[in-house]
């Protein structure tokens, strides 16, 4: 995290909650974080920087404020006119990620472990070398590589480089160069990200973004092509963006169980059941949830007449006299966000 990245995550039109951005990056999945992450259009960044500290975040905010790019009121950050100008200019000057969102449905860190190991194994194999220090990897990843390698052994020394070359050609040159130097193989130890950042005058923050986004794009290419040489490495890395527990709640609700029944059977607090449904609503398309049961048609009509203007300006007070609960107000906002 640095001030450049912070500015990219802020809005030119409205203030944003600093804690929401921080929690999103760290990967905290509270409904409030997820909801505002969706509203800010930043859900793709969920869990992007698991080790981000409060101090790093504050430093970035303070640096940006000291340079007059940002003002902070009530823990909400707004871009100043010069902040807006810089953000606009950075859109063409700074690396802009394209595919971070796939991180929600693919286990990207493990994909990287596997890719690294696959490249090392194939590299040594193409030099007919059996004597080398293997990268350390999780048992599950090692097993996946073993299976993958024996299934592809006959032509892997051409298919893997070919697939990588195809991929690199889709990338901006600096990103392709950076990515290739992170790989390791025969007599090629590769470089660490901080070594590359030091040698290329990229900031470590940008370097990490380029690496992650390139990897995400490669994952997309693999998923789009059944015949991709890396496809077999991917099959147990796909995941749902919705947590298992929230998914189980949704399934029970779809089978016709009431909130009380679910809460009783799954030994969950009633508030947790509602949070589960909100989480599912945030991540899944409108068709995946029985909105008509959650928000009856007449309630939706009332909301429609009472809640007008920009969604972020809606106030619960406007509807709190109705016989409703807060989660319904929030769910309606999610629904409307998705219908725009």
């Amino acid at each position: 995290m640095n001030e450049t990245q912070l500015i990219q995550l802020l809005s030119p039109t409205s203030p944003r909650r600093i804690r929401v951005i921080e929690n999103l990056l760290v990967g905290k999945r509270s409904v409030s974080t997820l909801y505002w992450g969706m509203r800010y259009g930043l859900l793709d960044w969920l869990g992007y920087q698991k080790h981000l500290t409060r101090q790093e975040m504050e430093t970035a905010v303070n640096d940006a404020a000291a340079k007059g790019l940002v003002t902070v009121t009530d823990l909400q950050a707004s871009l100043t006119p010069s902040g807006i100008t810089l953000r606009q200019a950075n859109l063409s000057r700074q690396y802009q990620p394209k595919a971070l969102g796939i991180r929600l449905t693919v286990d990207i860190p493990h994909f990287w472990q596997r890719l690294l190991l696959a490249v090392q194994v194939v590299s040594e194999y193409s030099y007919h070398n059996r004597q080398y220090y293997p990268l350390r990897a999780d048992y599950r990843d090692k097993q996946a590589i073993k299976r993958w390698f024996s299934a592809n052994k006959s032509d892997v020394t051409t298919r893997l480089p070919d697939a990588l070359i195809t991929f690199f050609k889709t990338q901006p040159e600096p990103a392709a160069d950076l990515f290739s130097h992170l790989l390791t193989g025969h007599n090629t130890p590769g470089y660490t990200l901080s070594q590359l950042a030091a040698q290329t005058e990229l900031s470590a923050t940008t370097g990490q973004l380029m690496q992650t986004d390139a990897l995400c794009q490669l994952a997309e290419q693999v998923l789009e092509d059944d015949q991709h040489v890396l496809r077999l490495l991917m099959h147990d890395l796909q995941q749902s963006p919705v947590s298992d527990s929230a998914m189980a709640t949704l399934t029970a609700f779809q089978r016709g169980q009431s909130f009380d029944q679910i809460s009783h059977q799954r030994k969950l607090k009633p508030s947790t059941v509602r949070e589960h449904l909100l989480e599912a609503a945030i991540f899944l398309p409108v068709s995946a949830l029985p909105y008509d049961r959650l928000l009856p048609a007449d309630l939706q009509r009332t909301f429609q007449t009472r809640l007008t203007g920009a969604i972020d300006d809606w106030q619960y007070d406007t509807v709190s006299d109705l016989d409703i609960e807060f989660w319904q107000f929030r769910l309606y906002a999610i629904l409307r966000s998705k219908q725009v």
């Binding site: 048992y139 480089p161 070359i165 160069d177 390791t184 090629t188 130890p189 660490t192 070594q195 040698q199």
Partner: protein, 481 residues
């Protein structure tokens, strides 16, 4: 009884060597006659070859107890490298399923590395008891002694563990043991009759230099000057990760050579890359904290510099031992700034719980809240093993006094105007020593780096910049252009 020739055959077949290094064959033949052995060999003298070969020849399970996960991983990687696949490390880093699979398939392995903590788990012991352990190896055996530099209470249980495993043949290995520690190791392992194989601790090809500097700025300048002047590769040891990072950056900035920091904060991927870069001489200087290099076999390290005062002679000598493993002239330089002993004292005493901490942890009903704190774990270890609070307090008091004494010895090394080498060999109880012509700062204070043949004449590597991805692909996959 295994014939000596069998060991030689395996040595040739497996490693391509014609002869053993000092101490290896003596240890192997003692083991072959059913003798438990305490083998004291300097770092890098090929300790692991002994148990690798023994497992190979006898086709039996070898269990190696080792104190550090990083060390075990390096050893597993190194055995993989030599073509041995039937080896694994049972550590807390393993996932639950991986551990479960390994435990139920122990018969698939010839070599099993375990941490002493693992051996306190019933599930692990139950599975191990079903195997016939051919050789029980205690690596870094000095960890069992409260008189040693790296005492680990879990090691105290190893004597008992060994008996629970049916008292298999046992090999205790250490690089650094004073006579007192040797005796203590045998006693605590309940193997008073074990034979002892000792190698000379001295490394005559390493010139021993101690330099006193006035302050931090001078120390930094001196480091930069030395790193520029000396033949590389080399290792610089620091007492903190932060300083290792900063000095690596400074070396990259102010000298023509490439440096990298290497310490426990690195993730596996970076650790691997930096090790490999160092092996391939792509970086010439590594700025390390003392955890570095445990598993690396780099023979041509020409200098080891200590930027801080080590906490005891044992760790100092172990780190110095990274230099000159190929036998060629090398140098160890200790940069001492008056007052450095305070940092060392802080580090050395810092791991010992205070009276208040002992009292606090003794009062807790559960450890869970504090289980990340090594001090809490330490106190609880004794609590679980039925020691009273008073006994534990007394124990830590002794430990603190022992650490203070060890640091005093280190300072005596720095200050002595007599032969530094004789001081070291004397410390480890080895009176006999042949002094090399160029010995140490005390004996030949005027010796220059040039006279040692360690002045760098190589042109600094040209910074050619990074190649494009196409070139990287050609190199990685041996693609013909």
């Amino acid at each position: 009884m295994i014939a000596e020739t069998t060991f030689y055959q395996q040595l040739k077949q497996r490693y391509g060597f014609e002869s053993f290094r000092p101490g290896q064959l003596e240890t192997l033949t003692a083991l072959a006659t059913g003798q438990d052995v305490l083998s004291i060999m300097p770092t890098g003298a090929g300790k692991s070859l002994i148990y690798e070969l023994y497992g190979q020849v006898t086709q039996q399970l070898v269990v190696i107890v080792s104190p550090l996960i990083a060390l075990m991983q390096d050893q597993v990687a190194s055995m993989n490298y030599h073509g041995e696949k039937r080896v694994t490390a049972l550590t807390s880093m393993m996932s639950y399923s991986e551990k479960a699979w390994t435990l139920t398939h122990l018969n698939k392995y010839r070599y099993l590395f375990v941490s002493p903590e693992m051996l306190t788990q019933e599930r692990v012991m139950a599975q191990l008891q079903q195997q016939k352990v051919g050789l029980f190896v205690v690596d870094e055996a000095h960890c069992i002694s409260t008189w040693g530099p790296d005492f680990r209470p879990e090691y105290l249980l190893l004597g008992q563990t060994r008996e629970q495993l049916g008292a298999p043949l046992t090999l205790m290995l250490t690089a650094t043991a004073t006579p007192r520690v040797k005796k203590d190791i045998k006693r605590r392992m309940r193997l008073p009759a074990a034979s002892v194989v000792t190698q000379p601790i001295d490394r005559p090809n390493i010139y021993l230099q101690v330099e006193t500097v006035a302050g931090t700025a001078e120390k930094q300048q001196r480091l930069i000057a030395l790193v520029s002047q000396l033949v590389k590769p080399g290792v610089v040891y620091f007492s903190s990760k932060k300083l290792a990072n900063e000095m690596a950056a400074l070396i990259n900035d102010q000298t023509a050579c490439r440096a990298a920091a290497y310490h426990a904060d690195l993730e596996d991927e970076s650790r691997f890359k930096i090790q490999q870069q160092f092996m391939a001489n792509q970086i010439q200087v590594v700025c390390a904290t003392s955890a570095f290099g445990m598993g690396i076999d780099k023979n041509d390290v020409r200098f080891v510099i200590h930027y801080h005062l080590p906490v005891d002679i044992e760790s100092y000598w172990q780190e110095v031992g990274r230099a000159g493993r190929d036998g060629a002239q090398s140098i160890a330089i200790l940069l001492y700034q008056p007052g450095d002993e305070q940092i060392a004292d802080f580090l050395s005493q810092g791991s010992i719980p205070t009276d208040e901490e002992v009292h606090f942890y003794f009062q807790q009903k559960q450890l869970s809240e504090y289980d990340k704190d090594p001090k809490a774990n330490l106190v609880w270890f004794y609590k679980r093993h039925a020691m009273s609070e008073a006994q534990v307090l007394e124990l830590f008091k002794k430990r603190a006094a022992q650490r203070t004494g060890a640091l005093q010895q280190m300072l005596r090394y720095v200050r002595t105007e007599n032969c530094k080498r004789r001081f070291i060999t004397g410390y480890f109880g080895q009176a006999h020593m042949t002094q090399p012509e160029q010995c140490c700062t005390s004996d030949t204070p005027g010796t220059t780096i040039a006279e040692l043949g360690l002045e760098s004449t190589a042109q600094p590597p040209e910074n050619v910049g990074l190649s494009g991805w196409q070139t990287v692909m050609d190199q990685l996959f041996l693609r013909k252009k």
